[in-house]
Protein backbone atom coordinates (compact mmCIF):
# COMPACT_ATOMS: atom_id res chain seq x y z
CA UNK A 1 0.00 0.00 0.00
CA UNK A 2 1.48 3.27 -1.12
CA UNK A 3 0.46 6.38 0.76
CA UNK A 4 1.19 9.98 -0.10
CA UNK A 5 2.38 12.42 2.54
CA UNK A 6 2.87 15.67 0.68
CA UNK A 7 1.72 16.72 -2.72
CA UNK A 8 1.77 19.57 -5.19
CA UNK A 9 0.52 20.23 -8.66
CA UNK A 10 2.23 22.16 -11.46
CA UNK A 11 0.79 23.33 -14.75
CA UNK A 12 3.06 22.66 -17.70
CA UNK A 13 2.21 24.64 -20.80
CA UNK A 14 5.54 25.74 -22.23
CA UNK A 15 9.11 24.59 -22.52
CA UNK A 16 10.29 27.06 -19.86
CA UNK A 17 8.16 25.21 -17.28
CA UNK A 18 10.40 22.16 -17.59
CA UNK A 19 13.44 23.32 -15.63
CA UNK A 20 11.40 24.57 -12.59
CA UNK A 21 9.54 21.23 -12.58
CA UNK A 22 12.82 19.31 -12.61
CA UNK A 23 14.03 21.44 -9.70
CA UNK A 24 10.87 20.75 -7.67
CA UNK A 25 11.18 17.01 -8.28
CA UNK A 26 14.80 17.18 -7.19
CA UNK A 27 13.78 18.94 -3.95
CA UNK A 28 11.37 16.09 -3.19
CA UNK A 29 14.18 13.59 -3.72
CA UNK A 30 16.60 15.57 -1.54
CA UNK A 31 13.98 15.85 1.23
CA UNK A 32 13.79 12.07 1.67
CA UNK A 33 17.56 11.65 1.37
CA UNK A 34 17.62 10.05 -2.06
CA UNK A 35 21.10 9.37 -3.48
CA UNK A 36 22.48 11.59 -6.24
CA UNK A 37 22.27 8.68 -8.67
CA UNK A 38 18.61 7.97 -7.95
CA UNK A 39 17.83 11.68 -8.06
CA UNK A 40 19.51 11.93 -11.45
CA UNK A 41 17.52 8.96 -12.77
CA UNK A 42 14.26 10.38 -11.42
CA UNK A 43 14.89 13.85 -12.86
CA UNK A 44 15.95 12.47 -16.22
CA UNK A 45 12.80 10.31 -16.36
CA UNK A 46 10.76 13.38 -15.44
CA UNK A 47 12.42 15.38 -18.17
CA UNK A 48 11.66 12.74 -20.81
CA UNK A 49 8.02 12.43 -19.77
CA UNK A 50 7.36 16.14 -19.52
CA UNK A 51 8.80 16.53 -22.99
CA UNK A 52 6.26 13.97 -24.24
CA UNK A 53 3.51 15.79 -22.38
CA UNK A 54 4.39 19.04 -24.16
CA UNK A 55 5.12 17.55 -27.56
CA UNK A 56 2.32 15.03 -27.93
CA UNK A 57 -0.17 16.07 -25.26
CA UNK A 58 -0.05 19.82 -25.86
CA UNK A 59 0.81 20.47 -22.21
CA UNK A 60 -0.98 19.38 -19.08
CA UNK A 61 -0.37 19.03 -15.38
CA UNK A 62 2.18 17.25 -13.28
CA UNK A 63 1.63 16.07 -9.71
CA UNK A 64 4.62 15.49 -7.45
CA UNK A 65 4.13 13.49 -4.24
CA UNK A 66 6.18 12.10 -1.40
CA UNK A 67 5.07 8.51 -0.96
CA UNK A 68 5.73 5.67 1.44
CA UNK A 69 5.00 1.95 1.24
CA UNK A 70 5.86 1.23 4.86
CA UNK A 71 9.36 0.00 4.09
CA UNK A 72 10.67 2.72 1.86
CA UNK A 73 10.06 6.33 0.95
CA UNK A 74 9.90 7.57 -2.58
CA UNK A 75 8.77 10.24 -5.01
CA UNK A 76 5.78 9.70 -7.28
CA UNK A 77 5.33 11.92 -10.33
CA UNK A 78 2.14 11.83 -12.40
CA UNK A 79 1.91 13.38 -15.87
CA UNK A 80 -1.58 14.12 -17.11
CA UNK A 81 -2.42 15.48 -20.54
CA UNK A 82 -5.62 15.79 -22.53
CA UNK A 83 -3.96 15.16 -25.85
CA UNK A 84 -4.88 12.64 -28.55
CA UNK A 85 -3.75 9.60 -26.56
CA UNK A 86 -1.43 6.85 -27.76
CA UNK A 87 -2.73 4.57 -30.49
CA UNK A 88 -0.61 1.50 -29.90
CA UNK A 89 0.81 1.41 -26.41
CA UNK A 90 2.88 -1.75 -26.87
CA UNK A 91 4.52 -0.20 -29.91
CA UNK A 92 5.18 3.04 -28.02
CA UNK A 93 6.92 1.04 -25.29
CA UNK A 94 9.32 -0.53 -27.79
CA UNK A 95 12.93 0.66 -27.90
CA UNK A 96 13.66 2.65 -31.03
CA UNK A 97 10.05 3.42 -31.91
CA UNK A 98 9.01 7.04 -32.35
CA UNK A 99 6.30 8.83 -34.24
CA UNK A 100 8.14 12.12 -33.77
CA UNK A 101 11.66 12.84 -34.89
CA UNK A 102 13.24 11.92 -31.57
CA UNK A 103 15.38 8.88 -30.95
CA UNK A 104 12.51 6.80 -29.67
CA UNK A 105 14.15 6.25 -26.31
CA UNK A 106 11.48 8.12 -24.38
CA UNK A 107 9.07 5.61 -22.88
CA UNK A 108 11.14 2.38 -22.67
CA UNK A 109 14.26 4.29 -21.61
CA UNK A 110 12.30 6.17 -18.98
CA UNK A 111 10.81 2.95 -17.63
CA UNK A 112 14.30 1.59 -17.03
CA UNK A 113 15.20 4.62 -14.89
CA UNK A 114 12.38 4.26 -12.35
CA UNK A 115 10.99 1.52 -10.09
CA UNK A 116 7.35 1.75 -11.02
CA UNK A 117 5.91 2.87 -14.31
CA UNK A 118 2.27 2.94 -15.28
CA UNK A 119 0.66 4.35 -18.40
CA UNK A 120 -3.05 4.85 -19.05
CA UNK A 121 -4.16 6.17 -22.39
CA UNK A 122 -7.32 6.39 -24.40
CA UNK A 123 -7.63 7.67 -27.95
CA UNK A 124 -9.02 11.19 -27.82
CA UNK A 125 -8.90 11.31 -24.04
CA UNK A 126 -5.28 11.93 -23.22
CA UNK A 127 -2.54 10.05 -21.47
CA UNK A 128 -1.59 9.67 -17.81
CA UNK A 129 1.85 8.37 -16.91
CA UNK A 130 2.78 7.63 -13.29
CA UNK A 131 6.29 6.88 -12.11
CA UNK A 132 7.73 6.11 -8.68
CA UNK A 133 11.37 6.18 -7.71
CA UNK A 134 12.04 4.66 -4.29
CA UNK A 135 14.79 6.08 -2.14
CA UNK A 136 16.50 2.70 -1.98
CA UNK A 137 15.16 1.44 -5.28
Amino acid sequence: MTTATSKEELLIVKEQDVVPLRNRVKEYGVKIGMSILNQTKLITATSELVRNLLKYGGGGKVIIESVSNGRDQGVRVTFIDNGPGIKDISLAMKDGYSTGKSLGLGLPGTKRLVNEFDIQTELGNGTTVTIIKWKNG
Binding site: L37, T40, R51, S102, L103, P108, R112
Partner: protein, 124 residues
Protein backbone atom coordinates in the same frame (compact mmCIF):
# COMPACT_ATOMS: atom_id res chain seq x y z
CA UNK B 1 46.10 28.96 -35.81
CA UNK B 2 44.39 25.87 -34.47
CA UNK B 3 42.52 27.80 -31.79
CA UNK B 4 40.25 26.01 -29.39
CA UNK B 5 36.87 27.10 -28.11
CA UNK B 6 36.05 26.40 -24.50
CA UNK B 7 32.35 26.20 -23.70
CA UNK B 8 31.29 25.83 -20.10
CA UNK B 9 27.64 24.98 -19.53
CA UNK B 10 26.79 26.45 -16.13
CA UNK B 11 23.08 25.73 -15.87
CA UNK B 12 20.62 23.04 -16.83
CA UNK B 13 19.49 24.09 -20.27
CA UNK B 14 15.96 24.04 -21.49
CA UNK B 15 15.40 23.08 -25.10
CA UNK B 16 15.52 26.45 -26.79
CA UNK B 17 18.73 27.40 -24.97
CA UNK B 18 20.33 24.12 -26.01
CA UNK B 19 19.37 24.70 -29.62
CA UNK B 20 20.77 28.23 -29.42
CA UNK B 21 24.00 26.84 -28.04
CA UNK B 22 24.21 24.46 -30.99
CA UNK B 23 23.85 27.17 -33.62
CA UNK B 24 25.99 29.76 -31.74
CA UNK B 25 28.76 27.24 -31.41
CA UNK B 26 28.78 26.28 -35.07
CA UNK B 27 28.77 29.95 -36.06
CA UNK B 28 31.62 30.68 -33.69
CA UNK B 29 33.67 27.80 -35.08
CA UNK B 30 33.17 29.28 -38.52
CA UNK B 31 33.98 32.85 -37.46
CA UNK B 32 37.13 31.99 -35.49
CA UNK B 33 38.28 29.17 -37.70
CA UNK B 34 38.48 27.02 -34.58
CA UNK B 35 39.99 23.59 -34.82
CA UNK B 36 38.77 22.24 -31.53
CA UNK B 37 35.81 22.63 -29.18
CA UNK B 38 35.90 21.69 -25.53
CA UNK B 39 32.52 21.47 -23.85
CA UNK B 40 32.65 21.39 -20.06
CA UNK B 41 29.50 19.79 -18.66
CA UNK B 42 30.70 19.33 -15.08
CA UNK B 43 27.92 21.65 -13.83
CA UNK B 44 25.21 19.82 -15.74
CA UNK B 45 23.21 17.59 -13.41
CA UNK B 46 21.06 15.87 -16.01
CA UNK B 47 21.32 14.96 -19.67
CA UNK B 48 18.12 13.67 -21.21
CA UNK B 49 17.64 12.36 -24.76
CA UNK B 50 17.17 15.88 -26.12
CA UNK B 51 20.36 17.25 -24.56
CA UNK B 52 22.19 14.09 -25.63
CA UNK B 53 21.08 14.64 -29.18
CA UNK B 54 22.31 18.26 -29.07
CA UNK B 55 25.76 17.09 -27.91
CA UNK B 56 25.82 14.51 -30.70
CA UNK B 57 24.76 17.13 -33.25
CA UNK B 58 27.49 19.51 -32.13
CA UNK B 59 30.10 16.76 -32.49
CA UNK B 60 28.95 15.84 -35.99
CA UNK B 61 28.50 19.44 -37.17
CA UNK B 62 31.88 20.57 -35.86
CA UNK B 63 33.51 17.59 -37.54
CA UNK B 64 32.02 18.67 -40.85
CA UNK B 65 33.46 22.13 -40.12
CA UNK B 66 36.85 20.47 -39.60
CA UNK B 67 36.87 20.90 -35.82
CA UNK B 68 37.05 18.27 -33.11
CA UNK B 69 34.68 18.27 -30.15
CA UNK B 70 35.57 16.85 -26.78
CA UNK B 71 33.04 16.73 -23.94
CA UNK B 72 34.59 16.89 -20.48
CA UNK B 73 33.57 16.58 -16.86
CA UNK B 74 30.50 14.39 -17.08
CA UNK B 75 29.22 13.54 -13.61
CA UNK B 76 29.20 9.79 -12.83
CA UNK B 77 25.46 9.76 -12.09
CA UNK B 78 24.81 11.39 -15.45
CA UNK B 79 26.89 8.77 -17.27
CA UNK B 80 25.09 5.88 -15.54
CA UNK B 81 21.69 7.41 -16.26
CA UNK B 82 22.52 8.01 -19.93
CA UNK B 83 23.45 4.38 -20.46
CA UNK B 84 20.33 3.07 -18.70
CA UNK B 85 18.22 5.44 -20.74
CA UNK B 86 19.77 3.88 -23.83
CA UNK B 87 21.72 6.86 -25.05
CA UNK B 88 25.27 5.95 -26.00
CA UNK B 89 26.39 9.36 -27.34
CA UNK B 90 27.97 7.77 -30.40
CA UNK B 91 30.48 10.04 -32.04
CA UNK B 92 31.03 12.17 -28.95
CA UNK B 93 34.59 12.02 -27.67
CA UNK B 94 34.95 12.62 -23.96
CA UNK B 95 37.65 13.23 -21.40
CA UNK B 96 37.62 13.30 -17.62
CA UNK B 97 38.36 17.00 -17.15
CA UNK B 98 39.29 20.20 -18.99
CA UNK B 99 43.03 19.54 -18.72
CA UNK B 100 42.78 16.03 -20.16
CA UNK B 101 40.37 17.29 -22.81
CA UNK B 102 42.88 19.94 -23.91
CA UNK B 103 45.61 17.30 -24.09
CA UNK B 104 43.37 15.17 -26.24
CA UNK B 105 42.56 18.06 -28.60
CA UNK B 106 46.22 19.05 -28.88
CA UNK B 107 47.22 15.46 -29.60
CA UNK B 108 44.61 15.26 -32.34
CA UNK B 109 45.72 18.59 -33.76
CA UNK B 110 49.44 18.08 -33.93
CA UNK B 111 49.57 14.40 -34.71
CA UNK B 112 47.24 14.98 -37.61
CA UNK B 113 45.37 11.81 -36.73
CA UNK B 114 41.99 13.32 -37.44
CA UNK B 115 41.05 10.35 -39.54
CA UNK B 116 41.90 7.86 -36.89
CA UNK B 117 39.09 7.90 -34.37
CA UNK B 118 38.76 5.54 -31.48
CA UNK B 119 35.00 5.70 -31.53
CA UNK B 120 32.62 4.01 -33.88
CA UNK B 121 31.38 6.65 -36.27
CA UNK B 122 29.38 4.39 -38.52
CA UNK B 123 25.59 4.50 -38.44
CA UNK B 124 24.10 6.48 -35.60
Amino acid sequence: MGDFLLVTIQVDLYDQLAENLESDLINTINKNNSKGVLIDISAVSIIDSFMGRILGNIAVMSKIMDAQTVVVGMQPAVAITLVELGLSLNGVISALNVEKGMDLLRAKMYNGDNEEQTYDDSNQ
